[in-house]
Amino acid sequence: MSDVLVYVLHYEGAFNKNSLGAVSEGVARAAEVGGACDAVVVGGTDLSDELCRTLGRYGARRVFRAEGPEGLAQPVVDVMDRVIAEHGHRYAIFGGGLLGFEIGAGLAARRQAGVTMEVTAVRADGDELVAERPILGDSKISVSHYRGGLGIIIGRINAFEVRESGSADAEVVDVAVEYSPWSRQAEMVSRGEQRGADVDIEGADVLVAGGRGLGKAEGFELAEALAAAFGGNSAVAATRAVVDAGWYPYAAQIGQTGKTVSPKLYLAAGISGAIQHKVGMQSSENIVAINKDANAPIFEFSDLGIVGDLNKILPKLTEAIRARKAG
């Protein structure tokens, strides 16, 4: 028997899409190795019976529900440790994001398990599951085999598709957990603060994305002017580096802990193309990048790459597009 356990993250009464993808994946893969997939949720009263049962739609058999703090990894490690000790799951799967990485790593330590992160595919190999992970800037794929009682698989965001394969309600099982002392040393003061204006980048057809290469907050004026020149349904997006620096609003961030976008045109200015950014924009229809470093990783996945100084190129490009539109 090879059962799979999936942690399902929720926020304000709704489940995280990447977690639902992980459940869908867990259900499909567990079936291939003769097991079933259960889910774990940890939180407060918004985890109603009704909400938890809906995980059955994605094929989850049982939902282990524990009352506990939200948004912190170690309490979830405590709960999953407990559930696995009792029910003997052989694999734990997490959707992408941030918390899943922390929980998966903590659980690996707690249960002496193997862990693979940034997984883009899981498949059955005999009666085992193996995980595929791109490495070296996505230029190679490494295949993980697990030894020992538990294998931990942490997906890359958007790696697992959400599939509604079930029809029955999932069974909700309450678990009482005594949290470990070190879990109780951390306390959430405030969660999910939105910094900066509430801008919409998900609906845009054209996204001009700016990174640290813009030099300073004011550098975003170049990106805004270009987006305005495209007109219509265009917007400006950003990397985490510049959002963390306070140059641009969080709502405009693309990537692992930001938005996933797929505009007709994504144009990057001064963005290196880190994996955590790429995962949020790689399904854009056309990718253009301007970067002064010919070795920047972003050129590996651009359709058109311009090696040059954005300070020289952006103003002239804006002019040219404006002229084209006017003419």
């Binding site: 170690q74 990485f101 330590a109 040393q185 020289k312 002239k316």
Partner: protein, 263 residues
């Protein structure tokens, strides 16, 4: 307060990274450097010391790695650490993330730090989970990707970006915190600090000295085996324009966009 900073030696950014076909491991030869993300952790420790809200008695740089990793420790000391500990042992080679975290935790246990700091990720292995592994072995709370760190009584008030926006978390010490690169601007070491780095105490310890169970480390002790490597599906290479004459470059971009009906 005693702070331990975990540091790592990584191939220089300019070195092309690849897999060694005969061992199946990352080829870590070539020019090496201190993982650039770790400099932010050292800087965070220095700012705690200089901030004056807590008394920082000692900052200790800790690494695990082959002999050459000593250079990463020298760099860490030149950036402000008082001394360093080098965990080095043949039996540790080939350890996966979980085994590495366990080994580092054993080395740290011996130091009994009040705070363990590390960088948000390593520049080579693209891993940002080691802090969470270390923390659970040490039975300490942990938070990763922290971009603001303030002293709050016997605790730290930390901010970081997670799935739904920015979270603020209060963590009582001892704790393991990984810091993001937005947390600070690391200083450059002075010439004097660089010259003096080799004179600061550096202790080399092997696995036995810190009580590591050999069955839990190295390739054999690791629970993940990455044997096979394959190529991802080939993607057509994009077109590249070197900007020599910006007017011409812009014309080419506009033509490219028009061809695809994007203007």
């Amino acid at each position: 307060m005693k702070i331990c900073v975990l540091v790592k030696e990584v191939p220089d950014a300019a070195v092309e990274k690849r897999i060694n076909a005969s061992t199946g491991r990352m080829d870590r030869s070539g020019e090496k450097n201190l993982n650039p993300y770790d400099t932010h952790a050292i800087e965070a420790a220095m700012q705690l010391r200089e901030g004056g809200l807590v008394q920082v008695d000692e900052i200790v740089a800790v690494t695990m790695g082959p002999e050459s990793a000593v250079r990463a420790l020298h760099k860490a000391v030149s950036l402000g650490a008082d001394r360093s500990v080098h965990l080095s042992d043949e039996t540790l080679a080939g350890s996966d993330v979980a085994a590495t975290g366990y080994a580092l935790a054993k080395a740290l246990e011996r130091e009994s730090p009040d705070l363990v700091l590390l960088g948000q990720q390593s520049d080579d292995g693209e891993c940002y989970t080691i802090g969470a592994v270390v923390a659970d072995h040490l039975r300490m709370p942990s938070l990763t990707q922290v971009v603001k760190l303030d002293v709050d009584g016997d605790a730290l008030r930390l901010e970081r970006q997670a799935e739904y926006g920015y979270d603020t978390v209060r963590v009582r010490l001892p704790a393991v915190i990984s810091v993001g690169d937005a947390i600070n601007e690391p200083r450059y070491p002075s010439l004097k600090a660089i010259m003096g780095a080799k004179k600061k105490p550096l202790e080399t310890v092997d696995a036995g000295a810190v009580g590591i169970d050999p069955a839990l480390v190295g390739a054999d002790g690791s629970r993940v085996q990455c044997g096979e490597f394959k190529d991802p599906p080939a993607k057509a290479a994009g077109q590249i324009i070197e900007d020599e004459n910006t007017d011409e470059t812009v014309e080419k971009i506009v033509a490219w966009l028009e061809e695809r009906k994007l203007i």
